[in-house]
């Protein structure tokens, strides 16, 4: 499943200007996209698993790199989304 507006937000976070605004005012930047409330919650919680079900894996990785999640932490969180987990578990995980 692809959440267009989440993906658009992640895509535009590649721009330094958007990242700067996001660091200063995360809610203000998110409000510029039509991101659903539950997805905003997942973003605020750095919920790698839930977000991984909603966007392109490269965009996901870019985003968590930009917001400063250490690579080791991202790896351990993304690996936890592997087989054995159903999509629903990942989303609600």
């Amino acid at each position: 499943m692809r959440d267009y507006w989440l993906s658009r937000f992640f895509f535009e976070m590649q721009q330094p200007a958007v990242r700067e605004r996001y660091a200063a005012d995360p809610q203000g930047v998110m409000d510029g996209y039509r991101i659903k409330p539950e997805v905003q919650t997942a973003i605020r919680a750095n919920d790698v698993g839930a977000l991984s079900a909603l966007t392109n894996p490269y965009l996901l990785r870019f985003y968590f790199g930009y917001v400063g999640m250490p690579e080791a932490e991202f790896l351990s969180r993304i690996r936890a989304t592997g087989p054995g987990k159903t999509a629903a578990e990942v989303v609600h995980g």
Binding site: R2, Y4, S7, R8, F11, Q14, S52, N56, P57, Y58, L59, L60, R61, F62, L75, I78, R79, A80, T81, G82, P83
Partner: protein, 275 residues
Amino acid sequence: MAELVGVFAASHGPVIVRDWDKLTPEIQASLNAAFEETGRRLSAVRADLVIVISPDHWVNFFMNNLPAICIGVGEEHAGPPEPFMKPYPYMDSMRGDPAFAAHVVETAMSRDFEPSISHHLVLDHGFCLPLWKMKLDRLPLILPIAINDLEPPMMSVRRCLQWGRLLREAIAGYPGDLRVAILATGGLSHSIGEHTMGQVDEAFDQRCIAALRAGDDATVIHQLEDGLASTGNGAQEARNWVIAHGAAASKGFDLIAYLPTPEVYVGCAFAEWKL
């Protein structure tokens, strides 16, 4: 008449540049040797122009207009925007050949292919990292072709072979005097942003290499369609190798190096096709 003078492939990966200093001297040496041998061979064919076939890593395109394939027809191409590519030596000196590009596009459209066209393509690390690491004598003109290897749906492996044949035909049909090489970049197996991230699938890579080496189209299609469905997402970039394979008339290749390197997340491979 234009002439196809060489067909090559090389892997890429941001870590190869971004975290170069963290790699062991052994890994550094083997990667350098592979890139440089590929570069030596590309320099040796004295190409006037190189068709570089790479994925776009969310630099030019987004989901509001995601082409299966986009041909860069401009007079010049923009350099990579990734911070780790800042020292790239050809940042402002990548030039195209609009006449040749227009010929390729017209040939494609007249043969029932329908690429997107860009008069101003930005070439990210996928295009530029191999060109940089290869230490070419000089940079030829570039015809960049961006393939969607990142976000479904993607072109079938069969269609990639057809695109390769189309490039071959377009080169042969160009009235200008031009020595043309092809460089496919990307692959082989890797996994980015998925639960398998960091795994290199050597079994997939070996099957892929064996199929391309043997040259038989049906085997290439079968092995890759099958393998791509069950390995990491980065392996989708192997379809760029299939385009190169098609352009080289599926005559098989010489494997320059295969370096499965989890430290850079990529099953790195380097090859030169038989002409």
